[in-house]
Amino acid sequence: MSETELTINGRSHTVSVDPHRPLRDVLRQELGLTGTKESCDSGVCGVCTVLVEGDATKSCLVPVGKVVDKELTTVEGLGSEEELSEVQRAFVDCFASQCGYCMPGFVLAAESLLDDNPSPTVEEIREGINGNICRCTGYVKIVDAIQEAARRREER
């Protein structure tokens, strides 16, 4: 156990944890940030995706001790109290969400994708979300939503 300082969604948090513990478990169990989900436990499904310095990262694979001096963003840090981010709004409007369990991970993957490539092609979007699994949708409307979000971001 050691005192660990984390910067999450622009705020500083101090937790007393084993530095080898996965970031995902610290977020969920110590900080109550359960928008970050757990599912496959092996870095495949992406429901635990967070942004580390803006890059989509699977938090089940990252020991919390490795991210002490990094800027972390979870789904709770997107948009504002009143307003969703363009990506979140596009996912709602395009019917991209069904059971919704994978959605926070997809939204963060999409934010990161669009930060790197503001107007991706369909192929680039499909490749870009291959680190995330959705069992419900068949991905058609998720790809639609990311295209729509790219358009809305351009109009910002």
């Binding site: 478990d25 969920r28 169990q29 109550g32 940030l33 359960t34 928008g35 970050t36 989900k37 757990e38 599912s39 496959c40 436990d41 092996s42 495949v44 499904c45 429901v47 979870t74 789904v75 709770e76 997107l78 948009g79 969703l84 979140q88 996912f91 709602v92 409007d93 019917f95 969400s97 069904q98 059971c99 919704g100 369990y101 994978c102 959605m103 926070p104 939204v107 369909v122 979007i125 499909r126 490749e127 979300i129 291959n130 995330n132 699994i133 959705c134 069992r135 419900c136 949708t137 068949g138 991905y139 058609v140 409307k141 998720i142 790809v143 639609d144």
Partner: protein
Amino acid sequence: MSMHEQTAESERTEHGAEASGDGEFRQIGNSMPRTDAREKLTGETVYTMDAYPEDVLHAKLVTSEHAHALLAEVDTAGAEAMDGVVAVSTAADAPDTRIGEFVFDEPIFAHDKVRYVGEPIAIVAAESERVADAAVDMVDVEYEPQEPVVDLRAAGGTDPPVVVHENLREYGTSEEGFHLDDPDSECANLLTTVTEETGDLETAFEDADLIVEDEYEVNPLQHCSMEAHVAVGHVDGNSATIRTSHQMPHVIKDELSRLFPSFESDDIVVNTPYAGGAFGGKETPIVEPRLLTVARRTDRPVRLALSRHQQYTTSPSRPEFRVRLKDGVTENGDLVARDITIDISVGGYDVEAFNIATALSVSVLGSYDASAVRRTTRAIYTNRPPYGAFRGFGLAEVNFAAERHMDRVADALDIDPLEYRARNLLRAGDRNVNGDSLHPCQNEAVLRVSIDSLDDVAVDTEYPEYATDEWEIGVGHAYGNKSVPQGETNVRIDLAPSGELTARIGAPDVGQGSNTAITQMVAEEFDTPAERVAIIAGDTDETERDMQGPSGSRFTPFTGNALRKAAETLRDELTSIASTMSGLSSDPASLRLGHGSVIDDESGVSVSLQTLIEHGKADDSPLFDGDVFSVVGRYEYTDEEHIYWVPVSQAVLVACNTLTGKIEVLRVSTAADVGTAINPRAVEQQLEGGAGQGIGGAVFEEIVYDGGRVVNGNFKQYRVPKATDLPYDSETIIFESFDTEGPFGAKSVGEVGVFPTAPAIAAAVEDALGIEFAVLPMTPERVMERLTDDHPT
């Protein structure tokens, strides 16, 4: 680009619900955004997996390492002595009752014997997950391994090498008088045989000009709900509260009451506000009885989540199916006789196989007309993890065999397979072998339009990357049909003084959008904005009894119709109260609800719901309960005839790699007649998602076993489709023939999207490569094997 939006719109105009029955709808038919979307996108939705109550203990299961073994000893002393371990439970702690959907065959924790790898033997509850994991390793289980039986044919033979349940006929069953299979049965591992025969089969085969026989095989796969099975339970004195990721909270409550006789039924509360996917995999008790056993040992809340690997071993998967089909046809293509035999693997215990076998026997031939049909379904115990329903309750798997066989027969007759299907298709008003009458619907248009829609695809220009020698392109097509049988459901509606309406429904929204559909139905019934409607779902303490759940395509007819009955009673009471008030007509029938009021259109006078509620309270209205009007609606359907049939077809364009055996689905077109589409975009969601799961199961998803052991029980080795595995070019064509029994003319759409996918892909692979496929999945290895077999170099 994706064409689904535009297509759905144009088809709606052409075949719209408005024209066909109930007048114009205000809320039904609108693609309003899903009511749960916003909170799911922000991460605010708290799934059961996210529930960590204060002071929670973490539980883990000790499970069998052998497919078949005697249990010599279970020693928990080492685990109990560990720091941080609060309780360890085994069979010694559990009531002497057995789990089972039909046959009560599975102990809560194994004693004497284990029958599959993954069978729960003990549970530990500890201060942290890490301690719980370590304690699991400290439970010492001594096995005396026995030979397992895992092969379906061997297990189901007359002289099986192993008898899975020696005392099968001594177990209790959920339906008294409904005995297990004939005790003189030649097969000791037979859970049940269901045989139904219609017409004179022998004569029909004699009269046939051609008889075609073949066998088909569908291998097991996993639901892979993103939220695993998880429950959080708390025992407080004589009462227990369990939150669980499940489809059927009311069923779980009943089952826990039966399994734990020390609790009064009303002292158990089960709650599922949402589930992170289910697909039929969360219909039976899995984690709940194990959790409750250890939760009785502590006054703290306890959380039990299955690991991803345990999803493959300890929670149910889709069974192995072997289907034998024999069809008799006339030379001009009339199907006159069908003999179908289906064997399914139960696994070690009857999680759902008995009910699947029963359901299959009545609904296996809903699409086509054949005068003589025999259906035999056998459910056979093996030493594999128990199997259960997966999106279609077995029908999707059997549809693979049945639709492939339609192609086989058409080929033998040298008739176009589409025309062969069309010729034998049941028409509106026809009765199928069950005696079910097909309600008016556009099933022939459904059959044809999906394949027609691929006519204009220019493969060379639209998919140039596949225009090399390595790839062969093929087109395939198949049909399907889902029916909905008997049942009953109750729904409560509350009207608050504020005018807000709350629908209390027993079935949780597991992802299919049921809460949104119900919101639209309530808004329609009371002509009120959807924002004025709240839903409480899946809490046994807050909702009426519901044994249907979102299961077997039953939500829409059962919950929808029960809700309509409650709404009717409530509207009648409101107009009746209004008719006693000055300025309004004294005839309630001339009054209507609208805009939060009861309105008299003739006089132009209206009275607000708030005022009516005050009057109702003062006049002692029988519907008044506390501060609200509260009404229960009940819908019961008891006819032998099924409620309705939902026709569906799919056409696919595939590319097959002749060097690697890889199959890529480039385009899928799905058509279905869903009755009134309550929310057309949500209908598309279901059909697109069904096709996606269908593609995975057709081309690569398969649980691989070594004997009784799952060897690929994780997402690294068991491939769940990713975005690049599924086509973005996806078209959904919705037909809306108003159904006479469905609420607002609507039918169910949750399951059918997966029905034709695998046979359509198999037909496309045959078109591309000239190889016949009778086995699922069509993995690259199997494709290469077939290519080498059929075209030896």
